[in-house]
Amino acid sequence: MPENTKVICITCPKGCRLDVTREGDTILKVDNCGCKRGEEYVKAELADPRRMVATTVKVHGGVHPLLPVYTAKPFPKPRIRELLDALSKVELKTPVAMGDVVIKDALGTGIDILASREMKPAAG
């Protein structure tokens, strides 16, 4: 039974409201695209939605108790909660350099979690 889904394309800021007709995992039709990229976006978004994820982890010895971190590449959306839970257990120590790998190959996805900034040991 074909079903209809609405998807907002975010490839560019225009944000076309796409009408997607699909049957199971097969996409039959994509209407309302402003350009070709809409169809590709829908395919990726429905098959394997990914997002950049940013959060903080505990750090000791710095001027702040938290260090911001982010996924080096867009991360599988269904596993974001799992990733956040894993990161909530991480504890780092200064010094940390920007780009340091905080978790390598997080949850076996091949995607590293990186430090967003450096954090030096706090003076005194």
Partner: protein, 425 residues
Amino acid sequence: MANKETYDVVVIGAGPGGLAAAIAAMQNGARDVLIIERDLEPGGILLQCIHNGFGLEIFKQDLPGPSYAQKFIDDAISSGVELLLDTMVLDITPDRRIFTASRKGGIREIKARALVLAMGCRERTRAQVRLPGTRPAGVYTAGTAQRWVNVEGYMPGKKFVILGSGDIGMIMARRLTFEGAKVERVLEVMPFLTGLTRNYVQCLLDYDIELQLQHTVKRIIGNKRVEAIEAVAVDEKWEPIPGSEEIIPCDTLLLSVGLIPENELSRKAGVILDPLTAGPFVDDRFETSVPGVFAAGNVVHVYDLVDWVTQAGFVSGKAAALYAVEQEHKAEKKILICSGENVHHVVPQHVCADSLKGADIKLQLRVKQPVETAVWVEVRKGANLVSRRAERYARPGEMITLRLPVKAYDEVQSADELTVAVVKR
């Protein structure tokens, strides 16, 4: 380090605007450059904007705020810019004497041959949107909540209602959800989204957070701590529609209702402010009405992408350095840029004709009303078209850039004023 009495260029604010200005000043002949920053670290608001989305234009990368800031901090330091941190500017005189206060340095007077104002903006408050109700704990602007969550590690609440569909509010909706809170509702008084669609999808839709357009907070309920929000629907005139009230239990109200350029110091320096932007009148080099005083970034008008703030910083920093070294102010003809049909404001508000000899001049504007069909963004001298650009749509939440091309020099330099308009195609 950072203890001279006079500098060629002094920059106030070590956010993206200030950092870019300082770097450009150093690269364009300034002999010494000082940035004065009130926080303990440079980086400005970017330090708490830990989400991605920065640098897409300038670096072709999707960076988090602190990383974007760090690139410029490293550049600034390696190029010899001096930093005065944990220092508040108390006063600036029109002859560019700056008075500062800090724990370590006490009171200092610093003279600047050229000054760049890069103080950014503050958030609109509960009082400025006149929210009725009680005054309990638990009413915060989104930025204050963001500092707590992302920098200091505190949760300001457990159950949230967010007023305003601006980017900061939507970003915080997702952030708070990540940290285990429940965001009950986002209310927006306009009939359209005021932030980016990308954020609506990735912050609200992704987490099933309901957005109600044409809704606002009727009153705040709760004596010691927020206990609920009474939401209400409004019409096009923002008048509440009786009978549409809904009490939403929550313990925190987050306000994301707009940013206001922070120009207290600019006023003290004698800089004339544009009531449309709440920022200084500037020309294409971002010089204000006071010779030798320049401005860059959100202090001029609120930008949507930090990449454009950086570009503005580069332009103003270079101009400040040239001014500091040459120490003369050429009396140049300036052409006024007026806001025409559907244009809320344009920056710069005037341009130096001579600038067009060397390069295109960028005009940046925001529309008043959204248009979801194709538009022309035009600059006209009277009825004559000087330059125009096609856009697929125009929204108040997304800044539009239009260029005055070099080839329009003759037309422009003979004009007293030009008008920018956004019309349907």
